[in-house]
């Protein structure tokens, strides 16, 4: 009879270890199974080992996991999918407003990057581009007040030039208008003179009445 140490460590030298586990777990095909069964009749070591392994399997079955916690997995969706779903939750007018807002924000960001500023003063509106102004002044670190003054001077100069052009045009129009009025006046005078002459020819007594005490001929030289 084997002592305990030998029983635990008895070498299985028959070279059928793999056949033994295939037989143990019922994974041997019919032929392999029949072959190993015949081997068991002749091999005490394999018979002992098979029984021992069956007991181990029985022991192993004592450890059963009675429950499994639910795995809480936070799945990550694609950014585009999340955005599409999020946008779809809102009504159209909200989406439109959000789009307009986003556009405005983008514009402000772009202006900010360009160094632009918007001034509304005395009902006037001005957009100053800091970098452009800096470039004009050689980028020598001019203050924003100096840049603003430069821009205002340029605007004032331009406005004066436009006003001068307008005044010149107005004078020209006036002169043109006066010439036309003068021509019309002369035409009216000529017509009146002709009418007086016709009337004199019809009634000379009226002419002689008005001619008394006044040598000037008011009818003949109407100015």
């Amino acid at each position: 009879m084997m002592n305990e140490k030998n029983r635990f460590n008895a070498p299985n030298d028959c070279g059928r270890k793999e056949d033994l586990v295939a037989y143990l777990y019922d994974e041997a095909n019919v032929a392999e199974r029949a072959s190993f069964k015949r081997h068991l009749d002749d091999c005490e070591a394999c018979r002992q080992e098979l029984k021992a392994f069956e007991r181990v399997r029985d022991e192993l079955s004592a450890w059963q996991v009675g429950f499994a916690p639910r795995a809480e997995i936070a799945l990550q969706r694609g950014k585009f999918d999340v955005l599409r779903e999020l946008v779809g939750m809102f009504p159209r007018w909200v989406r439109g407003a959000a789009l307009a807002g986003a556009a405005a924000v983008m514009m402000l960001i772009a202006m900010s990057i360009a160094g632009a500023s918007v001034n509304v003063r005395n009902g006037d509106f001005a957009v100053n581009f800091g970098r452009a102004a800096n470039a004009e002044t050689g980028g020598g670190g001019a203050s924003s007040e100096a840049i603003e003054r430069l821009v205002q001077t340029a605007v004032a100069r331009e406005r004066e030039k436009i006003e001068q052009e307008h005044n010149a045009q107005l004078t020209s129009f006036k002169d043109q208008l006066s010439a036309e009025q003068q021509a019309q006046l002369e035409a009216v005078k000529a017509a009146l003179r002709r009418e007086i002459q016709r009337a004199n020819r019809q009634n000379p007594s009226i002419r002689s009445f008005f001619a008394q005490g006044d040598n000037d001929d008011p009818w003949g030289d109407v100015r």
């Binding site: 586990v21 777990y25 192993l60």
Partner: protein
């Protein structure tokens, strides 16, 4: 009709990410069981379970389908287990060999059930098995766990571990031998 793993993967990759939760529900219990028996701690097993499914989701496009999804999933879980075991290092072996149960106790059912003699006897056996199993080298332990508890075939285990079937059989044989020796030793010490 129940969708196959491959069909669920196709749906997930097509943008129906919620479909992946079906795979989680289908495989969370085996993965948790494998992790618990490999690591011995419920907390670690839960963490590995989560890590496994997150890694599977993130790398789903890399799954080519030439192996079974479950094999791929088991491989991810085992890698996570080995990573943890490496971190735990010698402390794990020491804890088992000296019978220190702090932090390694298998979560038992409610206290009322523990009072029952049959339950106590079964729990005692379970504790012995757990200790004996934890004492096995990881490469033996994983094949015993997959064979005994996950009821996988030798070929399936070989697919997961990407080793020959004969190697799996050899490891199972050696693992059972070592379990037998350790269990006998533990019972003799009681």
């Amino acid at each position: 009709m129940e969708l196959s793993d491959d069909q669920i993967i196709e749906l997930t990759l097509a943008g129906e990410t919620d479909a992946f939760s079906l795979l989680v529900r289908r495989w969370e219990r085996p993965i948790y069981g494998l992790s618990l028996r490999m690591l011995g701690r419920d907390e670690d097993a839960r963490d590995v379970c989560q890590e496994t499914f997150l890694a599977a989701f993130r790398n789903l496009r890399k799954f080519r389908g030439d192996a079974k999804f479950s094999s791929w999933l088991y491989r991810i879980a085992l890698n996570a287990c080995h990573s943890r075991l490496r971190k735990q290092g010698a402390a794990v072996e020491q804890s088992i060999d000296h019978g220190d149960e702090d932090g390694r106790r298998f979560e038992l059912a409610d206290a009322e059930a523990e009072a029952m003699p049959e339950r106590m006897q079964r729990d005692e056996r379970a504790t012995l098995v757990r200790k004996a199993l934890q004492a096995l080298p990881a490469e033996m332990r994983q094949v015993i766990v997959m064979k005994e508890y996950e009821e996988m075939t030798f070929a399936e285990i070989a697919e997961v571990l990407q080793i020959p079937v004969s190697t799996v059989k050899s490891r199972v044989y050696t693992g059972l031998q070592q379990m037998r020796a350790r269990l006998e030793k533990m019972r003799g010490a009681l």
